[in-house]
Structure formats: structure tokens, C-alpha cells
Symmetry: C2
Subunit: 137 residues, 2 copies
DNA sequence: CATGATCCGTAGCCATTGCTACATTTAAAA
DNA sequence: TTTTAAATGTAGCAATGGCTACGGATCATG
């Protein structure tokens, strides 16, 4: 008799797509933050923010432009599209909830910041709601 | 005056390395589970488990062999090295804690399983300790 | 307006993780 | 034993995200 093992809940066929999506979330959030802090967001600002070369940023910005999340013109600042802004707001809200949640749970700020940046991308709506509920008490 | 924006807590310079590491964690955990369930772990078992082609599994198994996490011989089952088993146990323990934690938080089992698989890789020792403490109460 | 510093784009390399197509090995069945 | 099905390996392609090196654009400043 051959036992059957169930496949993962999150199919791995989408690993690359999921990573690309996380990158998109990180970038729109960063663009929103950098515009808020600096007034505009240049490619080099993103490169410094993420600690990568401007080349990496440039290519990713181009991809996100093709995906209608960012506006770009050669040698001009990066801006958010309507869709990009919507995503950025959602991501930032979720990020803040996760961060506050971890700290409320007793994790020190430093570790809460580190972990929340990794965790946030994997927090579904149900988990997010549960975290918000926990924070209210 | 130019404002300074702090870089992310988790430098993105290590994105690829982090993803590769997550893959390693997922694979050793899967190998341990499949051996427990099926008695042995074949490349195709992993392919079915992760919903990817056997080619993808084959290449990753080779890499993890080079990293001393897995034993492999051509056309033979995949096994864990001592180091791989140690990692697998740690990963499984953390996974179970995160899953139990989410369910205790009020997330339904289905969503807890989905989210825990993404979240687990980003739970540091401090956050893990906080989750365990929460579960004790 | 010239010029040099800074910013940005392009070319081209690598690693990881997907894939299809085809070859080879293993093991079971005829 | 031979043949056939299943499992595994290999070749080679694409997308994503790292990088260095180099060249063109922009802008402040002399």
C-alpha cells in the first residue's frame, strides 16, 4: 500500500512569482516612504535604501513600470501609479500592524523590525485580522 | 538640507542568499516528513510535494548535497545528513510553533497552515520565544 | 557656456528556480 | 530473458535579482 502525502498548502510552482511579488511590495512601500521623507524618490535613493546597486534598482523599476505600479521617465524621479499607491498603502498598513503586533507580543523593537519585514509578505487577511484584534485588547 | 533615510533592517543584498536558504529549510523538512510517511524519499516524491518538476528537485537536491545537508546517489532515495537532520528538526519545531501560535490567535486551520509556511522562515529566536511563551498561557 | 560631479542606462556576467524535451537507468511484467 | 513503464539525469531556455564596467545625461558651479 502506498501512502499519499498531501502537497504543501502553498504550491511551490509559484515560488519565483511570489518572490517577484514581494519585491514589488517592498519597492512600492519604499517609494512611498522615500517620497514622504525626501520629497522625491530617485533610483539611487532606492539603491541606498535596499543596499543594492543602482543597476538592480533600475531593472526592477522598469519591471514594475511594465506592471503599472510605477511611473518612470529616463533620468527622472520614480513615482507611484494609482495602482502602486493603493498597493503601497495596503502594504504599509500591514507592515505597521505586524510590527506593532510583534512588539505587543514582547519582542524587542530591533528584532520586531527585522522579523516584521520578512513576515509581512506572508500575512493573509485572516491572520492580519487576528493580529488587529489582538492589538485592540 | 538633505534628510537621511535609514536603510532597511534586513539588507536586501542578501535576498538571493536568503531565498536559497529558505529553499534548503523547506527541502530538509520535506525530506524528513516524506521519509516518516513513506519510508523513503524519492526525487519524484519531492516533486509532487512541492508541485514542481523532477528536474527542479534534482538540481536543488544536488546543491543541498554540495552543502552537506542531503545524501544522494544517482537513482537512489534522498537521505538527510547529520547536519541536514539537525536543521530539519529545528525547522519542523519552529514550523509547528508558528502554526499552533496562529491557530491559538484565532486563525482557522487552513489559513494558519498557508501563512505559517511563509512566515516560519522569518521568525527569529526572539519572536519564536515570544510565541512559545504566548502558547503556554 | 563649459566642465566636472553625480545620476542613470546599457551590456554582459553569475546564481537560483522554474520549464520542456530527450536520454538513461532501474525495476517490474510478460 | 526481454521488454516496457517509471524514475532519474542532462541539455538548454526563461525570469528574477545580484554584480562590475562603461557611457551618456543632467545640473550646479565656475
Amino acid at each position: 500500500m502506498v501512502k499519499k502525502v498531501k502537497a504543501r498548502s502553498v504550491p511551490f510552482s509559484q515560488t519565483r512569482a511570489r518572490h517577484a511579488n514581494e519585491t514589488a511590495e517592498d519597492y512600492v512601500e519604499a517609494v512611498m516612504e522615500l517620497i514622504a521623507e525626501l520629497g522625491e524618490c530617485r533610483v539611487l535613493d532606492l539603491a541606498r535604501y535596499f543596499n543594492v546597486s543602482h543597476v538592480t534598482v533600475s531593472r526592477i523599476v522598469k519591471r514594475l513600470h511594465d506592471e503599472n505600479l510605477l511611473h518612470t521617465m529616463p533620468y527622472k524621479p520614480v513615482e507611484l501609479t494609482v495602482e502602486g499607491l493603493k498597493l503601497a498603502k495596503r502594504v504599509k498598513d500591514r507592515h505597521l500592524v505586524v510590527l506593532a503586533f510583534l512588539m505587543e507580543l514582547g519582542v524587542d523593537k530591533t528584532n520586531a523590525e527585522i522579523d516584521s519585514e520578512g513576515i509581512e509578505h506572508h500575512v493573509g487577511s485572516k491572520t492580519l485580522a487576528a493580529m488587529k484584534k489582538f492589538l485592540k485588547k
